[in-house]
């Protein structure tokens, strides 16, 4: 049982590593440089997958939160907690890569454009989520409150997307996805973006698996220590 679990994790991490290597090759050596935006456009292959994986994390937080409130399942709680940490990490990186890109292209580090702003607010909500867990007087309470915030916070995600249409925006419109019919990107660019998204999703899963297992061991240890003390 234990060996098969470790094998699964080893396989997962190895796959993540190889796909990531391939993505780095694609981004820096294979994909053509953008005609209008130049070399800076390459950061896009990090920025977009980070955004996607970050939002996916917060979706997992929602699922975990509902699962915890509904079934009181501890696995769901660990899933939500681990996923919120990874989501904050990815959205932080996404915001940073956006800032780096914005300076040469837009001429400013940051604009209070709706999508940027809502991403920042989303980030703040999930930082509050982590603080809420840290400041709660016990783990059950923290888990319950965090789950409530995980659901409330997720209601803000559609506002991120809605805001694109509601407010005037200087953020480049999405060139892939259901809203557009594929055109706009060179096929090799599109492939690189897809594979990069896959790579970051794999990183997300790898981190999630490791973090959840760490949480499980940590809780088991704490329970054990508490039982010895009493």
């Amino acid at each position: 049982m234990i060996s098969s679990r470790i094998n699964f994790r080893l396989l997962l991490h190895l796959t993540t590593f190889l796909v990531m290597l391939y993505v780095l090759y694609l981004i820096f050596l294979s994909v053509p440089t953008d005609k209008n935006l130049g070399i800076s456009q390459r950061i896009f292959y990090f920025h977009v997958p980070l955004a996607w994986s970050g939002f996916l994390c917060f979706f997992i937080v929602l699922i975990g939160s509902i699962g915890y409130l509904w079934k009181k399942s501890l696995i769901c709680d660990r899933l939500a907690h681990a996923s919120s940490e990874i989501g904050v990490l990815f959205i932080t990186l996404m915001l940073m890569s956006g800032v780096l890109w914005a300076k040469p292209v837009w001429g400013v580090w940051w604009t209070w454009d709706p999508r940027l702003t809502t991403s920042l607010i989303l980030w703040l909500i999930y930082v509050a989520y982590l603080m809420l867990r840290a400041y709660s007087s016990n783990r059950q309470q923290g888990a319950k409150y965090a789950a409530l915030l995980g659901i409330a916070g997720f209601i803000d995600v559609p506002i991120v997307y809605l805001s694109i249409y509601w407010w005037r925006t200087v953020h480049p419109q999405p060139l892939v996805g259901p809203a557009t019919s594929g055109g706009g990107l060179d096929p090799s660019m599109q492939t690189a973006l897809m594979i990069s998204t896959l790579a970051f999703t794999l990183v997300l899963i790898s981190l999630l698996v490791e973090r959840m297992s760490l949480f499980r061991d940590q809780y088991a240890l704490e329970t054990h220590v508490a039982s010895i003390k009493s």
Binding site: Y145, L148, D156
Partner: protein, 224 residues
Amino acid sequence: MRTLLKDVKTMVWKDIVAEARNKEMVTSILTFAILILVIFNFALRLTPQIILELAPGILWITFIFSGLLGLTRLFVVEQENNTIHGLLLSPVSRENIYVSKAISTFLFMFVSEIIVIPLFSILFNVSLFNLLIFAVIILTTIGFASIGTFFSAIATNTKSREIMMPMLFVPIVVPIIIAAVISTGIVIQGGGWDDIYKWVQLIVVFDILSVVFSMLAFEQTLQE
């Protein structure tokens, strides 16, 4: 439905009577609001040309931060007097406790805002007496009070509620802050109902979502 109305009426009346006796909530919100207005006067060099641009921002910052002060204290008062146990033991459903708390919070915040508005108009020489502005203030305060009551119940039970309350509250209410500031600005600059319609709609949707969510989730927030 009958019992809901009766329970809520009783509990709101209890809050109003308590407030009328110690005047804690409205006084603290109000004095804090006046302090913020005074600081703004020093922090920004307000000429008659730019005041129209800045007035909505100053007004809403004042409302948000003074309101936060009241929201943070919401359940603390009940805890300090040990009346929270009485409230939890009384044969009323948790939803009714939430609804009554949210209504009394709304009332206290709104009364303070009603007093701030003429003060603001006098101190900054901007007239805010407009029905549309009142409508925006009422709707936004409903949003603040409904989600704020919910988060206050959570923050009260954490180790540092003074930090947790703004951290939980402000990011979530950002949509209605934007909508309130922009629509107040439009009305001050002479705009009408058609110009702010979209924003008012946003506030109403937020209010409905926050009331429904808080009613469903409030049961989880109170410690047994």
